[in-house]
Amino acid sequence: MRRLFTLRPIAAALAILASQALLAAAFAMVRRGEGLAAAAACALGWLTVLVLAAPAASLCLTASLALAVLAVLAGAPGWLSTAATAASLVAWDLTHLATEPARGVDDAAERRMMGSHLRALGAGILPGVALAGVLGQARLTVPFPVMVGVVILALVALHRAGRQAG
């Protein structure tokens, strides 16, 4: 059990570094030094949150996503930013797991639960990455009002689904 609990922060740290490395690569491709510095600062902040077990992982994810959007706007490839977003999402989830207080479960149950969680995480994120990849390749000319309508529809659907789920 101890070993598993020490593995959680290591996995979270690796995910944080990977997500910020992808962001840094995106900024490097468009030669934006300030973006690189921001990614490094974000990585540092996130690692601090992990070490201190502070409840600020969501803030780090928000910062990371903002940087990914900025990278795209600066001209970085969309796939790289999407990959950075997916890695940030994994890092956010693992940070939550790592900063939780240890629960009194035995090693086998812990391993089973972690396995189930990680499988669900993969099942949740990978289709999204694939979808983003496919949509990124598609060249569709959608009029702006239609786009607004689609987005509003998506938001309303999400809102309703969320309300139904409590």
Partner: protein, 422 residues
């Protein structure tokens, strides 16, 4: 939806709005992983109607005097569940084990919460276990209270005293260990009287009979009977403050438990009045079950603010019969004499055992001149208070709680001390 899901939803909104504002499709696609994760969480959210959990609890004392709790929660449903289980109310000091676990329970599987804690005394009751069922990504949760009732009374520790010699003003006509100054069957010689029909031949005093022609005399022995002993415990919070986790009230509780155990073991009838947050009474009785009743009452004592001791009203006469022995455990604060006077009425022999709160706290008092002066003044005040009580013909025991209580109580119960025999 929980906080995690709301965060994801807010980020999806943010990314989509950013995409709209910048008219960049690549930005919108970045929301795809967030969306799919969120949707998976919503799809796999546990449904309340599909949750079927049952629990059973075991609460027992362990050999070291602690309390062991184990709660097994079983998934009676068909689907596997991600559960966070938390026992409620959580005991203040769980010393071993965990009061919360996380588990992935398949159909028919069981997760067990095991912990133990140690407390000097108390009443603990559990209604159920808090179970939070969630999807594997913990984005949506369902809270359930699974009934798992349990209760335990942790009785205060009682020190084994040797028998205490009692000489009350009145004894009860039941065989005991207190010389009753009444002739009858017993072990100590009491006197001689003329033979009555029915007296056993072996008790005839043949020497005296030989001296008085035509008359028979029978030897009498002093009857040994039981007495009524009342215990009053003052549970005011002014005496609760302790040093290094120690608690003066707990010393009082332990002393009361020890005295009750001793008196009941001697066969006496014991009553108890506890002046705590709510006054508790145990009317006179004897035997083992009665001891359990007294210890349970002490286990549930909660301290109350330091106000003058309340008069328990009409029940006083029922609890403490006339000419009985009453032992009051109180640190003697101000305005306590009216109750002591009422207890002392009707020929009761009152003994006040006063745990010394001043010395108990002296170690934590400031060592500057003002602190020393305050300590000195408090000592003088206490001494005057004890003297005032002693002047009411009430025996007072000034008890430093780090010293044994038995010799002090034994000395105070000797006849001729304080109240003694009326």
């Amino acid at each position: 939806m929980n906080g995690r899901a709301v965060t994801l939803l807010a980020l999806v909104y943010g990314v989509l709005f950013a995409a709209l504002a910048t008219r960049r499709g690549e930005v919108a696609w970045m929301a795809a992983p967030l969306l799919t994760m969120l949707l998976l969480g919503l799809v796999r959210a546990p449904r309340r109607e599909a949750l079927a959990l049952s629990a059973r609890r075991r609460v027992e004392r362990d050999v070291a005097g602690g309390v062991k709790v184990s709660v097994g929660v079983r998934n009676d449903g068909a689907a596997a569940l991600h559960l966070r289980l938390e026992d409620a109310p959580r005991p203040a000091a769980a010393t071993e084990g965990a009061t919360a676990v996380e588990a992935l329970l398949g159909a028919g599987e069981e997760a067990v919460l095991r912990y133990s804690f140690r407390v000097p005394r108390g009443r603990f009751a559990w209604a159920g276990v808090r179970a939070v069922a969630s999807d594997p990504l913990r984005l949506s949760e369902e809270l359930l209270e699974v009934p798992a009732p349990g209760e335990i009374h942790v009785h205060p520790e009682a020190v084994r005293f040797r028998p205490l010699p009692l000489q009350p003003g009145r004894t009860l006509p039941s065989p005991g260990s207190i010389p009753a100054r009444v002739g009858g069957s017993g072990t100590e010689f009491f006197g001689v009287r003329e033979y009555h029909v029915g007296d056993a031949l072996r008790w005839i005093d043949w020497r005296l009979t030989a001296r008085h022609r035509g008359k028979l005399f029978t030897k009498q022995f002093e009857q040994e009977q039981i007495a009524d002993v009342g215990l009053v415990l003052d549970g005011r919070s002014a005496v609760e403050d302790g040093l290094d986790g120690e608690d003066l009230l707990e010393h009082g509780v332990r002393a009361t438990a020890s005295l009750a155990t001793t008196f009941l073991r001697q066969g006496n009838r014991v009553s108890l009045l506890v002046l705590g947050e709510t006054d508790a009474r145990v009317f006179p009785g004897s035997g083992r079950i009665h001891l359990q009743r007294i210890l349970s009452c002490l286990a549930g004592l909660r301290a109350r603010p330091a106000t003058a001791l309340r008069d328990p009203g009409h029940s006083l006469a029922r609890m403490f019969p006339a000419r009985s022995i009453v032992i009051v455990l109180t640190p003697l604060l101000l305005d306590d004499t009216p109750l002591l006077l009422r207890l002392h009425a009707h020929g009761r022999q009152v003994v006040v055992v006063s745990p010394d709160a001043i010395e108990f706290r002296a170690a934590s008092a400031p060592v500057d001149p003002v602190g020393r002066l305050a300590l000195r003044a408090a000592r003088v005040e206490r001494r005057l208070g004890l003297r005032a009580v002693a002047q009411l013909r009430i025996a007072v025991v000034d008890w430093q709680v780090n010293r044994p209580l038995y010799p002090l109580v034994r000395a105070a119960l000797r006849p001729g001390r304080g109240g003694g025999r009326p």
